[in-house]
C-alpha cells in the first residue's frame, strides 16, 4: 500500500502473517453444520449479518423500483397496485428485517460479551433460537412476496388492512409477528448478560457507551415488542375470522389500533437509532483518541431516551382524530425526548475538542451520522409542533425526516461499525481510501436523495403517491438521481471488504489503539473470547493524556497476567 492509503490511526507494528497459535472462532469448524448449530455469539452475529444483508438488498431493490417509477408523474413502470406493494414491502423489509435487527443482532451480539469481558451471552442456545426465528419470519416475508405482496404500507392501518386490502396481509403480519419473538429473546438475553456477566471490575460506570446503548435497546425490545405482537394477532384474527375489534362497522375503534401500533413503533425508532448512537460514541472517542466528553450524560441520555421514548407515540396521530388534548400532551412529551438526543450530539462535538483526530473511513461514517441525525432530529422537533405537523404529516417532509434518522443516521452508523470492527471480526485490514470514498458518497448521495423531499413535503406532496402532480417532477428526478448515487455507495464497501478478506493485511489485536476489552483479544478472537477472565481497573476510553504519543492502554488491569 502506498503511504496515502495507510491509516495513521492504525498501529504500525508489524504483525506476523502466520497462523494464530490459538484457533480463532472462525477456525473452529468449516462445515455448514458447525455454523448452523453454533452457540458462539460471534458466529451467530455473522449468521445475522448474512441474513440482514440479504434483506437490505431486497428492501433496496424495492426502493430502486419506487425511485425509478417516480421519475415521471405518470404510472409507467408499475400499476398503482404494484407501486403500493413495492413501497409496502420496502417498508416492512427495511424496518423489521434490516433496521431493527441491524446493529443489535450483529455488533451487539458480537461485541457485547467481548466488551464486558464475558465468554458468551447468558443464554447461547436462546441466541441461536433467536436467529432461527428471525429466519423463519424472513421466510414468511419471502412467501408474502411470492404470494403477490401486500399493499397496506408497513403500518397495517385498520380497517384497510383488516377488511379492505386485497394483498397477502395475513402472511405479512405472520412474518412480522414471528420476527417479533426474535427481538424479544435477543432483548432478554442482552439485559441478563449485562446484569449478570460483567467481568470483575467492570462496574456500570466503566461500561463502554456502546454497551449502554445496546442495553437500553434491549429494554425497548422487551417492553415494546409484546404490544406489537398482540396487536398483530388481533388484526390477523379480524382479517381471517372477521372478528370485530378495530372494525368501526361493528363498533370497534380504528384509532385504538394506531395507539397500540405506535406504542411499539415509535420506540422502535429508538431501537434503530440508539445502537447507532452507541457506535458513534465508540468511533468518535477513538478517532479523537480522547475520553468522551460527559460520560454520564451520554450514558444517562440513552436511558432517558429509552424511557421517555415510550410516552410520545401520539405525535404520529395529530390528524388521526385523536383528542386535541391528548395531542397537546404528546406534543409536549415529544419535545422532552428531544433533549437527551441533543445532549448526545453536543457531547460528541465537544469530544472532538482538543482531540488528536484521524480523519479516516470510520470517522467519516460517524460524522455522517452526526450530521444527518442532527437534521433528522431537529426536523422531528418541527413535526412535534402540532400546528406545523397538521400541514406536514403524511407528506414527503415526514418521509425525508425519518429517512434522515433511520437511513442517513442508522445505516451510516452500521457501516461505520462494520469498518471499525471489521479487523476484529475478520482479522484483516481493508483499504481505507476506498472506505473514505464510500463514506463521502453515502453522505452526498443521501443528501441529494432526501433533501428535495423536505421541500416537496412542505409544498404539499403527500407520501405514498404513485401518480403525482407535474410540478413536483424536477425535485422527484433529483431525488431519484441521488438514490442511484446512494445505491452505488452502498454496494461499494462489499467489494473492498470482501477483497480484504483475501488480500488485506493481518490486523493484529488492536489496530486502532482502542481501549475496549474486545481489543485485548487476538483478531479474530478465539472461541471463548478470553483465555483468563479479564479484570478491569480503568474507566472506558482511558486514552493517554499525551494523545497518540502516549502509551496505548486498555481497560484491562495491568497486573493481571494473561
Amino acid at each position: 500500500m502506498s503511504p496515502s492509503q495507510v491509516n495513521p490511526r492504525m498501529s504500525q507494528e508489524a504483525v506476523p502473517d502466520t497462523p494464530e497459535e490459538r484457533r480463532s472462532y472462525l477456525a473452529e469448524g468449516h462445515s455448514l453444520r458447525s455454523w448452523l448449530l453454533t452457540t458462539d455469539h460471534k458466529r451467530i452475529a455473522i449468521l445475522f449479518m448474512v441474513a440482514i444483508t440479504f434483506f437490505f438488498f431486497c428492501g433496496g431493490v424495492a426502493a430502486a423500483l419506487i425511485r425509478l417509477d417516480l421519475l415521471t408523474p405518470a404510472p409507467d413502470l408499475m400499476s398503482n397496485d404494484g407501486y403500493n406493494r413495492a413501497f409496502s414491502l420496502h417498508g416492512i423489509i427495511m424496518v423489521w428485517f434490516f433496521l431493527i435487527p441491524s446493529i443489535p443482532t450483529t455488533f451487539g451480539n458480537f461485541l457485547l460479551p467481548l466488551m464486558i469481558g464475558a465468554k458468551d451471552l447468558a443464554f447461547p442456545r436462546l441466541n441461536l433460537a433467536s436467529w432461527y426465528i428471525f429466519v423463519l419470519g424472513g421466510l414468511f416475508t419471502l412467501i408474502t412476496v411470492v404470494a403477490g405482496g401486500v399493499d397496506t404500507g408497513w403500518t397495517f392501518y385498520t380497517p384497510f388492512s383488516s377488511t379492505y386490502s386485497n394483498g397477502a396481509v395475513f402472511l405479512a403480519i405472520t412474518a412480522v409477528f414471528i420476527s417479533g419473538f426474535s427481538s424479544i429473546l435477543t432483548g432478554i438475553n442482552f439485559i441478563v448478560t449485562v446484569h449478570k456477566l460483567r467481568c470483575p471490575g467492570m462496574t456500570w460506570g466503566r461500561l463502554p457507551l456502546f454497551v449502554w446503548s445496546i442495553y437500553t435497546t434491549a429494554i425497548i425490545f422487551v417492553l415494546a415488542t409484546p404490544v406489537l405482537t398482540i396487536t398483530l394477532v388481533l388484526v390477523a384474527l379480524e382479517r381471517v375470522f372477521g372478528l370485530g375489534i378495530f372494525d368501526p362497522a361493528l363498533g370497534g375503534d380504528p384509532i385504538l389500533f394506531q395507539h397500540l401500533f405506535w406504542f411499539y413503533s415509535h420506540p422502535a425508532v429508538y431501537i434503530m437509532v440508539l445502537p447507532a448512537m452507541g457506535v458513534v460514541s465508540e468511533l468518535i472517542t477513538n478517532a479523537a483518541h480522547k475520553q468522551i466528553f460527559g460520560y454520564w450524560f451520554v450514558a444517562g441520555s440513552a436511558i432517558a431516551i429509552g424511557v421517555i421514548g415510550f410516552m410520545v407515540w401520539g405525535h404520529h396521530m395529530f390528524v388521526s382524530g385523536q383528542s386535541p388534548y391528548a395531542s397537546a400532551i404528546f406534543s409536549f412529551l415529544s419535545i422532552v425526548v428531544a433533549v437527551p438526543s441533543a445532549i448526545k450530539v453536543y457531547n460528541w462535538t465537544a469530544t472532538l475538542h482538543k482531540g488528536e483526530i484521524v480523519i479516516d473511513g470510520p470517522l467519516l461514517y460517524a460524522l455522517g451520522f452526526i450530521g444527518l441525525f442532527t437534521i433528522g432530529g431537529l426536523t422531528g422537533v418541527m413535526l412535534a409542533m402540532i400546528a406545523a405537523d397538521v400541514h406536514l404529516t403524511d407528506t414527503y417532509f415526514v418521509v425525508a425526516h425519518f429517512h434522515f434518522i433511520m437511513v442517513g443516521g442508522s445505516v451510516s452508523a452500521y457501516f461505520g461499525a462494520l469498518h471499525f470492527w471489521w479487523p476484529k471480526i475478520t482479522g484483516r485490514l481493508y483499504n481505507d481510501m476506498w472506505a473514505r470514498l464510500a463514506a463521502l458518497l453515502i453522505f452526498f448521495g443521501f443528501v441529494m436523495t432526501f433533501a428535495p423531499q423536505f421541500v416537496m413535503g412542505y409544498e404539499g406532496m403527500p407520501r405514498r403517491y404513485h401518480v403525482y402532480p407535474q410540478v413536483f417532477q424536477p425535485l422527484m428526478v433529483m431525488s431519484s438521481v441521488g438514490s442511484s448515487v446512494l445505491a452505488v455507495a452502498y454496494v461499494l464497501p462489499f467489494f473492498y471488504l470482501f477483497w480484504s478478506l483475501r488480500y488485506g493485511k493481518p490486523a493484529g489485536p488492536n489496530p486502532w489503539g482502542a481501549t475496549g476489552l474486545e481489543w485485548t483479544t487476538p483478531s479474530p478472537p478465539p472461541k471463548d473470547n478470553f483465555e483468563t477472565v479479564p479484570v478491569v481497573d480503568k474507566e472506558a476510553y482511558c486514552y493517554p493524556e499525551q494523545g497518540r504519543a502516549g502509551e496505548p492502554q486498555t481497560q484491562q488491569a495491568e497486573s493481571v497476567d494473561a
Binding site: 403500493n84 362497522a249 403524511d394 405514498r464
Partner: protein
C-alpha cells in the same frame, strides 16, 4: 422550467400564513441549533487533526454547566414554540358558531360533498370567499385524510365517526385537494379541487348547479320512505304504539338521559350512531328495539336524516 425551490406555496387563508410563519421560524431554530454542531465540528477537525500542532493540554472531560446550558436553553426555546403552535392548533380545532357546514363523505376513491342547500358535488368543493366553512367528514370504508395544502390543514376521515376541519378562505382560485392517508389502489389519484369563489359567483354557481331540495327535505323524504314514522311518529313527535320510540322534535343539541344513568349530548355523532349502531347508547325508558341501519344507509343519507332532525328544532338550531 425553474426549480420551485425556496418559495412559499400559495396561501389561501390567514391560518396558512400563520402556519408558514411558524414553519419558517422553526426552520430558523433548526439552523440555529444545528449550527454549533456543524461549525464547531469542522473547526475542530481542522485544528485538532492528527499531525497538526495544536494546544491539546487541559482537555476537559465534562462540565455540568455546559451540559445543563445546552439542554435547558434549547428546551426553553422550543417550549416557546410549543405554546405558539398548540394555540394555533386549538384555534384550528374550534370552528365559530356561524360556520357553514358542508358534509363530506369519503369512499375509495372519491370525495363527495353535500352543501346545506342540498347541492352535491364529487371531487370538487366550491366555497364562498370569506365565510367560515366547517367540513363534517366521515368515510364509507377505510381511513382517508382530507388535505388542503393551500390552507395548511389536514384531517383524517374515519369510518363510523365524524371528524371536522374548518377554514376561512381569503383568496379566490382553484387549489388542490388531496387524500393524505393511504387508502388503497387509487390513493394517489383520490384528489380534487377546492374552488374558492366570491360570494356572488358562489351564489351563481349554486343556482346553476341546482338542488332539487334542501338536505333537510331529502332527509324528511328518507324518513318517510324507510318507515321511521312507524315508531317515531309521522312527524317524528314520538309515539306510544305499537312500539315506543323517543320523539325527535327538539332533540338536537339536548342532553339525552341514557339507560345506564349517564347523559349524552344529541349531537351529529350521537344521531349518527343511533341510526347506524342503535345499541351503542340507549335512551332511558326505551327498549333497545331499533334495528341497526348500518347495512341499509350510506353516509350521505345519514347526513340527510341528521339535517332533517336538526331542522326539527333543538338547542343549536341552525
Amino acid at each position: 422550467m425553474t426549480l420551485p425551490v425556496f418559495f412559499i406555496p400559495v396561501e389561501a387563508s390567514a391560518h396558512a400564513g400563520q402556519v408558514d410563519l411558524l414553519i419558517w421560524t422553526l426552520a430558523l431554530l433548526v439552523a440555529l441549533l444545528a449550527a454549533p454542531v456543524f461549525v464547531l465540528s469542522a473547526i475542530y477537525l481542522l485544528r485538532f487533526r492528527y499531525g497538526r500542532r495544536a494546544d491539546r493540554s487541559k482537555a476537559q472531560r465534562g462540565s455540568v454547566w455546559l451540559e445543563v446550558s445546552w439542554s435547558v436553553i434549547p428546551f426553553l426555546l422550543v417550549m416557546g414554540f410549543y405554546v405558539w403552535s398548540t394555540k394555533l392548533f386549538f384555534e384550528q380545532q374550534s370552528p365559530p358558531d356561524d360556520a357553514m357546514t358542508i358534509n363530506v363523505v369519503a369512499k375509495q376513491w372519491m370525495w363527495k360533498f353535500q352543501h346545506p342547500s342540498g347541492t352535491r358535488e364529487i371531487n370538487e368543493l366550491h366555497v364562498p370567499l370569506g365565510k367560515p366553512i366547517r367540513l363534517t367528514m366521515t368515510s364509507q370504508d377505510v381511513i382517508h385524510s382530507l388535505y388542503l395544502p393551500a390552507l395548511r390543514i389536514k384531517q383524517d376521515v374515519l369510518p363510523g365517526r365524524y371528524t371536522q376541519e374548518w377554514f376561512v378562505a381569503d383568496k379566490t382560485g382553484v387549489f388542490p385537494l388531496r387524500c393524505a392517508e393511504f387508502c388503497g389502489t387509487d390513493h394517489s389519484v383520490m384528489g380534487g379541487r377546492l374552488i374558492v369563489q366570491t360570494p356572488a359567483d358562489f351564489a351563481r354557481w349554486q343556482a346553476q348547479a341546482g338542488a332539487d331540495r334542501s338536505l333537510a327535505a331529502s332527509g324528511r323524504e328518507l324518513f318517510d320512505r324507510l318507515g321511521c314514522a312507524g315508531c317515531h311518529g309521522s312527524n317524528a313527535q314520538g309515539s306510544e304504539s305499537p312500539i315506543r320510540a323517543p320523539p325527535l322534535v327538539g332533540l338536537y343539541g339536548r342532553p339525552v338521559p341514557l339507560s345506564d344513568g349517564t347523559f349524552a349530548k344529541a349531537d351529529d355523532q350521537y344521531i349518527h350512531d343511533s341510526i347506524m349502531l342503535p345499541n351503542k347508547q340507549i335512551a332511558a325508558g326505551y327498549e333497545p328495539r331499533m334495528p341497526p341501519f348500518g347495512n341499509v344507509l350510506d353516509e350521505e343519507q345519514v347526513a340527510q336524516l341528521e339535517a332533517y332532525i336538526r331542522s326539527l328544532g333543538g338547542k343549536e338550531d341552525k
